[in-house]
């Protein structure tokens, strides 16, 4: 090592520092430390912190949004259920109304039919009374006719008497059927 130094002409021992280089290195490293440790790395820490906060804030916001969404969902569900009950109620009402209307119609129809039946009965009664009145009027005449026929014909003839009565009766029937 000493021979190398002798060859180089200057005394250089690699393990003994040059004091000038120590001064230069100290100043240079001090400058570097000052700038980086004062202006750069603390700001990085701040940025990291801000980032953490931003992420945590984001999570909080997301949670709030989720809660709101859940609440809205609950609300919509409640509204939907309400609407369903409303619909059911309306349907029931409608059904009840329909039933009422049906009953009304039926009642009216019954009334109408009753009315018609009553009218028919009345008419029948009227016709009956008319027929009875006519029959009464005719019965007198027929009785007179019959009597005159009985008196006019020979009472001894059994066969003829029988025929006369039958003729009378058939006459009576045919007139009654009219």
């Amino acid at each position: 090592m000493f021979s190398f130094a002798a060859e180089g002409g200057a005394e250089h021992n690699p393990i003994i520092p040059l004091w000038q280089e120590i001064v230069v290195g100290t100043v240079a490293f001090a400058v570097l430390c000052y700038v980086l440790m004062k202006f750069v790395f603390p700001r990085m820490e701040q940025t990291f912190q801000a980032r953490v906060e931003a992420i945590e804030g984001g999570i909080k916001r997301a949670e709030a949004a989720q809660a709101e969404a859940n609440q809205l969902l609950e609300q919509y569900r409640a509204q939907l259920a309400e609407a369903r009950t409303d619909a059911a109620r309306i349907r029931d009402d409608a059904r009840a109304d329909a039933e009422g209307i049906r009953q009304d119609v039926l009642a009216k129809a019954r009334e109408e039919s009753d009315r018609i039946i009553a009218a028919g009965k009345e008419q029948l009664a009227a016709e009956r009374s008319t027929i009875i009145r006519e029959l009464r009027a005719e019965v007198g005449t027929i009785a007179v006719d019959l009597a005159s026929k009985i008196v006019g014909e020979s009472l001894a003839d059994e066969a003829r008497r029988k025929g006369t009565v039958e003729r009378f009766l058939s006459d009576l029937e045919s007139s009654g059927a009219r």
């Binding site: 393990i15 100290t26 202006f39």
Partner: protein, 258 residues
């Protein structure tokens, strides 16, 4: 051409190859390639971090992300994992240290620069001294001088071994630590540069001695390339080791028990 080179090839490589001629007459050693590189390293780091972190955003840009990744790496894997949660307050210094050592080391394989200021022991020595002062200061501040000395020097061992252990602990903690820290980095960078010199210059020397050795000199230069990759690994590793050891010393000083 090879003959003209032959006259200029300095062989064998020596310590003097680390002390380049001064850039300007009479300024040596204040103004040399080495000191210029130190200032360049400082300038590059300051400019890089100030530019990338001029206006930090929550959603980082690509360059901001790179700067944050460097800091985040040292902060999380060294400061937090090694020292503990309160170690994050040392992250700025550890990151500065890591970047400075790494960039200075990196100069040893950058084409046309190809020498690291860390191959001069002055710079590793400064950094090691700062680490030494730092961990001792923190230990004394944390525990008081007496308790710190007791924590550092008296291991939990039977009393009859203590007379042997205490001097060993004293030497390893207070004498060897700064020295090994500085020498480890310096020697790695020194040896790396020396190996690259040997293979590069050796190639020329062999080529000049006889043309028959030309294939061997090509092999020698290929070795230089391969060893440059090895050197790249050493560069990163040594920067990391320096930072991790500093953090570990701080952790040891702050720890409650030995």
């Amino acid at each position: 051409m090879s003959t003209s080179l032959a006259a200029e090839v300095p062989w064998p490589p020596s310590v003097e190859d680390f002390f380049l001629p001064p850039i300007a007459e009479g300024t040596d050693p204040w103004f040399t390639k080495i000191t210029v590189l130190v200032w360049v390293a400082v300038a590059i780091l300051i400019i890089f971090f100030l530019v990338t972190y001029r206006e930090p955003k929550l959603v980082p840009t690509k360059r901001q992300w790179i700067a944050e990744s460097i800091y985040g790496f040292v902060r999380n894997t060294v400061a937090r994992d090694l020292i503990g949660h309160h170690g994050i307050r040392f992250a700025p210094y550890l990151t500065t240290l890591f970047c400075f050592v790494l960039l200075m080391n990196l100069f040893s394989i950058v084409p046309l620069i190809q020498i690291s200021p860390n191959s001069h022991i002055a710079f590793p020595a400064i950094l090691a001294l700062i680490s030494y002062v730092l961990f001792n200061y923190l230990g004394i501040k944390q525990h008081g001088f007496r308790k710190y000395m007791k924590n550092s020097l008296v291991p939990p061992a039977p009393w009859f071994i203590l007379p042997i252990l205490i001097p060993i602990e004293f030497m390893s903690t207070f004498l060897f630590r700064p020295f090994t820290l500085a020498v480890r980095l310096f020697a790695n960078m020194f040896a790396g540069h020396m190996i690259l010199l040997v293979f590069t210059l050796g190639g020329f020397v062999m080529l000049n001695s006889t043309p028959l050795l030309a294939p061997v000199s090509v092999l020698s230069w290929l070795m230089t390339i391969a060893l440059t990759f090895l050197e790249a690994m050493v560069i990163v590793l040594q920067a990391y080791v320096f930072t991790v050891l500093t953090a570990s010393y701080v952790q040891g000083a702050l720890a409650e028990e030995h």
